[in-house]
């Protein structure tokens, strides 16, 4: 059996049970030591599931106070222990500790894939609006006030058409 972190033969076999779910992990001597597996109490599955340093990332954020999800009661400690989140709302609650982690884990931290059809229009409008806002700031910075005025008009139009849209 090989170490799940490197190619060396695994000598440390760890089983952790969280919410009745069994997770097995195989590590070699040096990776085990590096992760503090020799001291099981100090070991977090988050590190293995989400990458090195994930658990300390989770711990250090929130400025010392324990983050708790208002929707499902999931805590920072739960997150650290399981490497998973409690509910969709948790992504807002734990946005800070997640940010750096997602950067490491994925190609980017912004979703570029599929969008549910009923959100598509809304999303496109939001993106266009953000785009105009940026152009506006740039044109002001460049002291191009004529362009800035034009963009401001477009943004105003935008606000009007959004407000007049019937609610679904």
């Amino acid at each position: 059996m090989k170490c799940s972190q490197c190619e060396s033969p695994a000598t440390v076999h760890l089983t952790e049970i969280i919410d009745g779910k069994t997770k097995k992990i195989d590590l070699c001597e040096s990776c085990a030591k590096e992760k503090g597996v020799t001291d099981p109490s100090g070991f977090a599955l988050a590190d293995l599931l989400l990458g090195l340093g994930a658990s300390s990332e989770i711990e250090s954020s929130g400025e010392g106070k324990q983050l708790v999800c208002g929707a499902c009661g999931f805590t920072q400690a739960d997150f650290k222990k399981s490497g998973r989140l409690g509910c969709p709302e948790c992504y807002s609650t734990f946005a800070d500790p997640l940010e750096a982690m997602l950067k490491q884990m994925h190609k980017d931290t912004l979703h570029r894939g599929k969008v549910p059809a009923h959100l598509k229009e809304q999303r496109e409008r939001g993106m266009k609006r953000a785009d105009l806002q940026m152009q506006l700031e740039e044109s002001i910075k460049a002291e191009n006030y004529e362009l800035a005025a034009q963009i401001r008009d477009q943004l105003k139009q935008f606000a009007v058409s959004t407000a007049s849209r019937p609610k679904e």
Binding site: L49, A71, C72, H106, L110, H118
Partner: protein, 364 residues
């Protein structure tokens, strides 16, 4: 009347007869999407009641879609252990899902190409599978299915982060694109580790036959994407497709090299595989898979006249523990299974002629 699972499932024979592009090397193409319902805790956090509510919402919604016109739908709690294992052996559900009880369920379509797991790690795990290399077609199909479903179920979705999933590793697209590859040529040529390392370097994952943390039984490897956020689904599909095509090419070269450079070694492997499967009286599923893999290699290289790939693929399924027990109609202990398995193989290999080397190419 509700249909029993074993009446619904297609036969192993039919299973083996399915074909697809590059199927001498690519066993199957699969895409799965992770989806959750807005405002409800993920299954790992949800209490029994809310899991049950999810199941009761999702199952009828899925069943009502045109692709599910004929379907099997059930709660994991109502399925027997052997039935769950059969689903797992067909790669229709994960090992984790097979372990689930109350509050979890599945919906499966007629030809076993579309399956929805309810309350696995996420509320929905939608997956589509087809034989051979058809990743793009599989993605298009599951995309359509998912769009139809999204009209009925309010998915948890964030503008910035995309589809919200229980584990941040699936966040964004929630997509896992994977291909099951049969690579005996690369294994025998001792090149498979190089390939695995190269694929890993590209940020993809290589796993064994039954997914995460399993061995590469029968020289079968699974290649899949790891990153799910920051790219479109089409880009991910395209990349895995490219990687798979490259591995297919390497495997084809490895098989040719074996035939040209080490023909005796190759004939020996295949011939011994036939000898053991045709005459053994006790055989484990692990040994059987490795031998059938070598026979499958022999068939792909036209060394085994009289033995069809379809019947080999059928046997691959029939020798698995749960399928074996289903065929026998009774629960068998491991030692009994090894006897029955050997008996089945002896029967099927009876009369199969030995390795016939292809004619030497003439220099004329």
């Amino acid at each position: 009347m509700k249909m029993e699972l074993n009446e619904f499932l297609i036969s192993a024979e039919e299973f083996g007869q399915r074909t697809g592009p590059h199927d001498a090397i690519v066993l199957s193409s699969r895409v799965r999407l992770a989806r959750n319902i807005v405002g409800i805790p993920f299954p790992g956090r949800a209490d029994r009641e809310s899991k049950q509510r999810v199941l009761e919402t999702v199952q009828p919604a899925v069943e009502s879609l045109p692709e599910m016109k004929s379907h099997f739908s059930g709660a994991m709690a109502d399925l027997k252990a052997v039935e769950k294992q059969i689903l797992m052996e067909r790669h229709l559900i994960s090992r984790e899902h097979a372990a689930k009880g109350a509050g979890s369920g599945i919906v499966l379509n007629r030809d076993e190409t579309l399956c929805v797991m309810v309350n696995e790690e996420d509320h929905l795990r939608i997956q589509s599978i087809r034989p051979g290399l058809q990743l793009k077609q599989v993605w298009q199909r599951i995309d359509k299915f998912d769009s139809e479903l999204e009209a009925k179920i309010g998915y948890a979705f964030s503008d910035k982060l995309g589809y919200l999933t229980a584990c941040p590793t699936n966040l964004g697209t929630g997509i896992r694109v994977s291909a099951m590859l049969h690579l005996p040529g690369l294994v025998l040529n001792e090149q498979v580790n190089q390939i695995i390392q190269a694929v890993n370097k590209l940020g993809h994952t290589v796993r064994g036959f039954y997914g995460e943390g399993t061995e590469a039984l029968g020289h079968i490897f699974q290649v899949s994407n790891q990153m799910t956020l920051g790219e479109t689904e089409a880009e991910i599909v395209e990349r895995i497709n490219k990687v798979v095509l490259q591995i297919v090419e390497h495997e084809a070269t490895a098989r040719r090299t074996l035939l040209e450079k080490k023909p005796n070694e190759l004939f020996n492997h295949v011939g011994r595989a036939l000898g053991v499967t045709a005459h053994a009286h006790i055989i484990s599923s692990k040994e059987a898979m490795n031998l059938l893999s070598l026979l499958r290699l022999g068939i792909s290289m036209n060394l085994m006249p009289g033995l069809e790939r379809s019947s080999l693929d059928e046997l691959f399924l029939l020798i698995q523990p749960a399928h074996l027990q289903q065929t026998c109609g009774e629960k068998l202990a491991s030692e009994q299974r090894d006897l029955v398995r050997a008996g089945l193989l002896r029967k099927r290999m009876k009369g199969v002629k030995g390795v016939k080397p292809p004619p030497e190419p003439s220099d004329a």
